[in-house]
Structure formats: structure tokens, C-alpha cells
Amino acid sequence: MIRDITLGQYYPAKSVLHRLDPRTKFVGTLLFVISLFLFHTFPGYGVATVFLVSMIALSKVPVSFMFKGLRAIFVILLITVAFNIFLTPGRVLWQLGFLKLTYEGLMQAGRMAIRLIYLVVGSSIMTLTTTPNQLTDGLEDLMRPLKRIRVPVHEIAMMMSIALRFIPILMEETDKIMKAQIARGADFETGNIFQKAKGLVPLLVPLFISAFRRANDLAMAMEARCYHGGEGRTQMKPLCYRGRDFVAYGVTLVYLAVSVVFRVKGI
């Protein structure tokens, strides 16, 4: 069961999007999100759809993976849609007690739903085509200007990559300790919520201890190899923009310009 969990949600494939620089993908995703809020008419969403569909096609990731992320926001989506449908004042189409279904409400709900869904799918494209390590490298580089105002950018990026690295290890550890305690007669399944919470103690105590031990070992190993923060540190695989990245930036900017024009013209 533990084996099934992939790190982050990276989907390995060979596509242009996979080869793009993580910074390009990050900025591109950000611009796509901005465009979603610039568009406010259905023809506008049509343009966004064309852009999104072509990105999905380019990524060579199965479509089902793209929509997996939607499961997480399903409840939020439902609540948003319901509130918008019933609570927007306007032309009443149908009424049940105090609940009024309005034409404006329907349109508003539709817009919100499209925005939310596109937002999640759009960012899924980024996380599916970029390994977590690339992502943190890219973020570190993009956040570099924040160093001026004393934000510990390198340290944050390092913490992120270590955390990501340790997820599968801790999963495995949990599995192991759980089995060891089940072998000693522990029961993690039956009982009411309090019994269940109490039953987790034999799992959580060893897990925390092992996490601290690992952290300690890792810190020691890093220091033994002279790690002392980001000062003067170079990268093994420095990020470097290539031709395709400039093309990607160009395409995204044209797309953003279209959305600005749509907004200004009120289409």
C-alpha cells in the first residue's frame, strides 16, 4: 500500500513541458491564474479552455491525472456553486421558501466553477510535469530578490526539499512500526474515537522519535560535508533558460495580452 504513493505527484513522461525550466512553468502558471481572473465572459473562458487543452495535450500526461486534483476541492466547489446560485440577487427563475434561484446567480456560479476548476487543473499541469526538486530549485531562484529584505530563501527551499524527500521514508517507517505493534496485539481499527486516538500512541511515539533521530543524523551528515547555509553555494545542475523557454514565455505573454484586451474591451 505504501509503495503506491508517489512522491509529490510527478508523472514521468517525455514532453516539451517536462523539459521546460521550472521557473518558466511557475511563472506561466501564475500568469494563467491571473488570466482566469481577467476573463469574465464566456468567450473569454473559451480562450482559456483552448489554452488549457493545448497544454494538457502538450504535457502527454493522461487526462485522468489532471482531474485527480479536483477531488480535493470537490466540497469547496460544491459550496461555492450553491452559495452563488442561491444568494446572488437578480431575476428570479425558481423559488423554494427563502431560496431564490436567479439567472445572475447561475451565471456567477458557472464562472466561479470554471475559475476554480481551471485553477486546479492548471496548477496540476505544473506539478505533474515538474519533479519536486526542480520545483524547489525554481522557487528558490524566483524568490531570490526577497533575500534583500532578509527572507531566508535558500533555507526555505532546503527545508522544502528535505521535507519532500522524507515523506516516503516516514511513510515506510509508519508502515513498519504499525506492523510491529499489530504483531504485539495493538488494534488501530476498532473502538470509538477516543480509544482510537489512544491506540495511536504506540505508533506516534516511535514515529516521532525516529523522525528526530533521522533529522539529527541528517544534520550531522550535512555538517560533516561542510554545509553552512546558502552563502556562496553553487548548484550541481544550475537552472538555465533555453530557446524553448523563451518561446514558452512568448506564448504565455501573448495569451495574457489577449486576456487583457478581452477585459478592456469588455468581451
Partner: protein, 289 residues
């Protein structure tokens, strides 16, 4: 009180891209009161196999029977099974969690439904058996040394009074003295309590001295299952599996090939010594006459 595996196979993540065959067509019987050594290279499937014994893993094919009853059949209590088939995992010291040693060892017996008093009695007996001195009983398990932690963890399973005790590499990470002591105590459990013991290891030397039978695992299958002497006579094949016979087997085969009539089946240094002395004596007498 026997465990029987019939045509058992085990797949990890069946039906996905991560599918991996860990065990294939395993037929194995573990009878009462036997001391069995299980040996195999890393990834040979031995850790998966022992988790089938007490129902922590469900085989993807075949049957696991305890006293003739299928443990995955309807109405079979795997919780009871686990208190009869004790399993000590590799690095068991990482499972300790209680405030003191005695409480930790009591965890198993309490889960079996014993009263605190009885549980304590069982725990003390188990701790005594693995050689943990009484002054450590109220210490925090995290203050102990590696070897002591390991003993406490083994006692934690032993306190449940299992009929069969399975130990996965109990000597990993111990110094030679600590290793010998733990192995001796395990052997004495077998002698005094009559517990069936399955000792998983990758060191032939450790196993050779104590066990009555060796099961060699290779690539998810049982390669050999015999008494130690006969298993070691396949030392060439063992090498191909990334294992090795005890050093003494090599010495004896070497001596034999150079014309000294020694017993190549000697397993321990003591046996080898006797055999070599006997052979030398014979040679000397031959020279004299």
C-alpha cells in the same frame, strides 16, 4: 501448533505499474519445537515470507494454514493467531514507546486481555529470560544501550507467550559479544520453553551453530530446505545466490582437495578441529608404518 504454507505467492501492488513479485509458489511446513534458520540475500523475500506467518500480509495466491485451518478463512481470529505466532521485526528497538521498560513489555500481554498483575508477571519472566537485569525495569526504554533495547523489544513479544517465535535479524547492529549472547538466549528459549523458533539471518555462521534446519530463500523461492550439513554442501550454489557457507566449510573442502581425509560436513570450529586432528593422527600412523 504448526504453520503450513501451500503454493503461496505474494505480489506487491498487483495490477499497477509498480507490481513486483516477492514470493512464488512457496510450500513450507513449520512443525512444533523446531529451531529453523531462514537465510537469503537482501530482497530474496524472507521478510515478506515471515509476515505471512502471522497474517500481517495476505498472500495473493495459495493458502496459509495454522493447525490445519486457513488463517484467511471466515471466522478465523488473526488477533489470536498473532499472540501465538510472535514476530520480532528487524531493529525492534524502534517500536518501544512506553515510559518504562516494564510497561513497554506489558503492552503485548495487556492487549491479550490479561490483568495488569498477570501482565506484569509475564513481562518480568520474559525480561529475565532475555537477560535484562531488574534494576533496568523502571528505566525509560530510551535510556538503554542498543543491545539492551533489542532485548527489551524481544521480551515485549516473548511476554505474550507465543508458541512460535519468529525473529528477523535479531543480531543486526550488535557487536560480536552481544550477538553471541542474544543467540545463546534465543537457543535457550527453544530448549527450556520448547518454543518453535524461526531465525532469519544472512549470516551462515550465526545460524549454523544453533539451528536444526535451514531454509534458503532465493529470488522469492525456496532454494534449499534441509539440515545444515546438507545445505552447506551446496556451497558453490550458495555463493551464486550471494550467500556463503561458514568459513570452516571452505577450509575443510580445501584440506580435503589437498589430500587430507577430513569430514567436509563439519559445521562448527570445534567439530572441524576434532576432524582435522583425527585425520592428522591417521596420517602420522600411516607414515610410521
Amino acid at each position: 501448533m504448526s504453520i503450513e504454507l501451500k503454493n503461496v505467492s505474494y505480489l506487491y501492488s498487483p495490477g499497477t505499474a509498480y507490481e513486483m513479485r516477492a514470493l512464488e509458489n512457496i510450500n513450507l511446513t513449520i512443525p512444533e519445537h523446531q529451531f529453523i534458520g531462514m537465510i537469503g540475500h537482501t530482497g530474496s523475500g524472507k521478510s515478506t515470507l515471515i509476515q505471512l506467518f502471522n497474517g500481517l500480509l495476505r498472500p495473493t495466491g495459495g493458502e496459509v494454514c495454522y493447525n490445519g485451518e486457513n488463517i484467511w478463512g471466515d471466522g478465523f481470529s488473526r488477533k489470536d493467531l498473532r499472540s501465538q505466532v510472535g514476530l520480532v521485526f528487524q531493529y525492534p528497538e524502534y517500536q518501544l514507546f512506553e515510559v518504562d521498560v516494564l510497561q513497554d513489555v506489558c503492552f503485548g500481554p495487556k492487549n491479550q486481555g490479561l490483568s495488569p498483575k498477570e501482565a506484569e508477571k509475564q513481562a518480568k519472566r520474559a525480561l529475565e529470560h532475555v537477560g535484562v537485569p531488574e534494576e533496568l525495569f523502571d528505566k525509560s526504554p530510551f535510556e538503554l544501550s542498543g543491545g539492551q533495547k533489542k532485548r527489551v523489544a524481544i521480551a515485549g513479544v516473548l511476554a505474550m507467550d507465543p508458541k512460535i517465535l519468529i525473529l528477523d535479524e535479531p543480531t543486526a547492529g550488535l557487536d560480536p559479544a552481544g550477538r553471541d549472547e542474544i543467540l545463546r538466549q534465543i537457543a535457550s528459549l527453544h530448549e527450556t520453553r520448547g518454543i518453535t523458533i524461526v531465525l532469519v539471518s544472512h549470516s551462515m555462521e550465526d545460524i549454523a551453530r544453533y539451528v536444526q534446519r535451514i531454509v534458503v530463500m532465493n529470488q522469492g523461492q525456496i532454494a534449499f530446505d534441509d539440515i545444515p550439513k546438507r545445505v552447506f554442501s551446496h556451497y558453490r550454489e550458495l555463493e551464486q545466490m550471494g550467500l556463503a557457507a561458514p568459513e570452516i566449510t571452505y577450509v575443510m573442502h580445501d584440506l580435503k582437495s589437498r589430500g587430507l581425509d577430513v569430514d567436509v560436513e563439519a559445521i562448527t570450529v570445534e567439530e572441524a578441529k576434532r576432524s582435522i586432528l583425527r585425520a592428522l593422527k591417521a596420517v602420522r600412523e600411516e607414515v610410521r608404518t
